[in-house]
């Protein structure tokens, strides 16, 4: 297993280089010059623009810029934002914990509530409560997160006034509850349905019948025998979902004014702050890679027959 992990980690290096290069090229290919855009549509002096670009190395060819960027990155330097002249590392350090907090909140919610609902419904398929769950999740799946976001914001904050409409303090878990719920809603529906189907399916399988026939207590049949096998597809989904939740936060963060990575990357994109976009995107890539590695390792926990070579 150690060798497997090592090999997977080594594989990350080319993936990382490839994806950053790709994002770098995409940013470069976008029309619109970041330094010029900073000047707005009032009058400006082209000499100043040229001079700033020279200082930042933006007048060099693409490949040279990429090499410079990667050399900096290896030394832990994410570069400097063009307009604000702040180190990008600082910008990321400000925004990342907020998004991670939001994501963990949403993720825990998805896992606990989603699997819970799925199990409840799956154990008694085709009953009223199962149908109820299917209807509820159908609504959640078909409703875009911004619609749900605005709806809940309107109802909870304005109609009933149980919460503030926007997050004034991104460090307060209480205020993050609403955006996290909205963020989680879509994945929640998927997880619940996935778990439900998987449980309902395995309930009819031979090994469960054997376990029941052996006279095992129901708690053990469901908790160990049934759950382990049923959770494999769910875990796969959850692993990939960590990354999607982080990127999906862009919309939710906008609605609720959460100062996280989503807003940061959106701003950077519209201002053509290439280095910031690449910096944040590379971190996202790393998180995706790490999450998929953890998922693969978790398979062995759930099903000991799976071995790694």
């Amino acid at each position: 297993m150690g060798r497997y992990v090592a090999r997977r980690l080594l594989q990350m290096i080319p993936v990382f280089i490839g994806s950053t290069l790709l994002i770098f090229c995409m940013m470069y290919a976008l029309p619109g010059d970041p330094v010029r855009a900073m000047m707005g549509d009032q009058a400006y002096d082209p000499t100043v623009v040229a001079s700033i670009k020279k200082d930042l190395g933006l007048d060099q060819p693409l490949i040279q810029q990429y090499v410079n960027y990667m050399t900096g990155l290896l030394q832990g330097d994410f570069g400097t934002q063009i307009a604000s002249q702040r180190p990008i590392a600082d910008v990321i350090a400000d925004a990342f914990p907020v998004t991670i907090r939001l994501t963990i909140f949403a993720f825990t919610f998805v896992t606990v509530v989603g699997i819970g609902l799925g199990v409840v419904a799956g154990l008694r398929p085709d009953t009223l409560r199962d149908r109820g769950l299917l209807t509820l999740t159908l609504i959640l799946v078909s409703m875009p997160s911004f619609v749900l976001g605005f709806l809940l914001q309107y109802l909870l904050a304005f109609k009933w006034q149980v919460t503030t409409p926007t997050v004034t303090d991104s460090t307060d878990f209480g205020q993050l509850a609403l955006p996290a719920t909205v963020l989680a809603s879509l994945s929640l529906a998927y997880v619940a349905r996935l778990t439900r189907t998987s449980i309902a399916e395995n309930l009819r399988s031979d090994y469960i019948r054997t376990a029941v026939a052996k006279g095992l207590p129901r708690r053990r049949v469901v908790g160990v025998h049934l759950m382990r096998n049923s959770l494999i597809p769910v875990v796969t989904f959850l692993g990939i979902e960590i990354g999607s939740l982080m990127t999906g936060a862009i919309v939710t963060e906008g609605i609720f004014n959460v100062r996280g990575i989503g807003i940061e990357i959106y701003d950077a994109l519209s201002r053509r702050e290439g280095a910031t976009v690449v910096g944040i995107a590379s971190l996202m890539v790393l998180i995706y890679l790490a999450a998929s590695l953890i998922v693969d390792l978790l398979y062995a926990v759930l099903d000991p027959r799976i071995r790694y070579a």
């Binding site: 549509d41 002096d45 000499t47 200082d55 702040r86 904050a157 004034t168 906008g254 609605i255 000991p304």
Partner: protein, 537 residues
Amino acid sequence: MRGARSAKWVAGAIVVALAATACGGDSDGEGNSKGSGPAGYVSIDVGEPQKPLIPADTNESNGSYVIQSLFTQLLDFDSKGEIVYTNAESVTTDDSKTWTVKLKKGWKFHNGEEVTSKSYIDAWNWYANIKNNQQNSFWFQDIKGYDDVHPEKGDPKAETMSGLKAVDDHTFTIELKNTMPYFNYKLGYTTWAPLPKVFYDDPKAFGQKPVGNGPYKFEKWDHKKLIQVKAWDEYQGPNKAKNKGVQFKAYTTLEAAYKDVVSGNLDMIRQVGPTDLPKYKQDLGDGAIEQPYAAIQTLTPAFYSKTFKDIDPKVLQGLSMAIDRNTITKTVLNNTRTPAESFTPPGVKGNQNLDTDVFTYNPTKAKQLIEEGGGVPGNKFTVQYNTDGGHKEWVTAVCESIRKATGVDCVGDPKPDFATDLEARDNDQVKGMYRGGWVADYPVNANFMKELYHTTAEANNGRFSNKEIDKLMNEADKAKSLDESVKAFQEVEKKLVEHMPAIPLWYYRINGGHGKNVDNVNVDFHGDLEVWAVTTK
């Protein structure tokens, strides 16, 4: 039971991670409290400034709000656009070329340093120097010796501009390259602020923690969240703060800020978003603000494009008459604009009634003028705009109006964002017209003509060029007095109607508001809320 043990370990790791991020949160959790901050402070939805807070490096509105609270220039303007002296005792000239500035005595920076002639001269020399890459350095180009510190290419030949001379500690003179009767009006722009000595030790650090001479003293900058400034007791200007301090709070959307004003978490909002416009007067009651300010929107033809090269101005006059400004401003724009009647907005010196029907909707005459002028080549043109600025709706409406009235086909040419839009304008790639906009830098009519339609003007992206008009503008700049110059520019404006360098559409209005906790919220000539005058209840 290998599996079970690992599962426990994973669960443990998640708990640790949760705890770690939660702790990280607590450490920076204080200060950013709910509600509108410390007692007596007022809050406004001013977002994160794009750049460090250096007066000559900022021209977007977020940054200039903060800079205006921290720095005071020689003079300012009242809501009618008349000069109000702040740091200067007087700014005078005999020949419109050499200007004498007398400073008020006893003014200090927030660190106790006295504001002297040197504070101004050194700052302006630093701003103008090409080595310092200041965005607004071109504002100093009228001063004699500017080309020495800011050459087109290469290193500066001098450190100082020869036109700036200190007479004594509180008097200095500015010599210009050419006469400019309205130069003193330019001095009201935020760029002309003085700097204390500490600035030169470390400009970068200063930009994060500025020391100014304005009504407020810098307190803290919590990036992307809030900037807080405190009223400065020793301030002596006429715009002394009437509240205890200001919080400039960053919001991601206009809607979010608006909701916070309604619910009392925020005191003032500068602009109400389109979705809330229909109901904001009901929601805010007396707090609703609706006021015009000195800014204009135009459709500007690219005179190098296939469509508008050598176009007969009659065609443009016709197109102008085919736009139903009244209906569009009322419906599509929700009454947020006032139909334009000239090239200059009201509120600037020299705004006049042009006595023409070119800006009035008249489909019959529009058709006739376009025919007389030989029509639009291809009977079709495009209007370039950026989709990230809420322009799509009105561009569509204007096109529809033109199509209905004249049969000339007009389509939008959307660019995904402002950066792309600007690039096309700079590189002369506009295919037909583009949406132009201009907010007054200083409240004089020259600002809306010389900077936009002079052949050599940087913001003349339509590349309009007319020798006669250039000549008239140059002469207007040579006028002996401000009044004469304003009059001369009024003549230029009359000529502009004959040549139509752009089609004026409407003047901007501010549709903002404030909550119940504050009072005395006014708007200045370029549409900013006057934060210093706001009182808390």
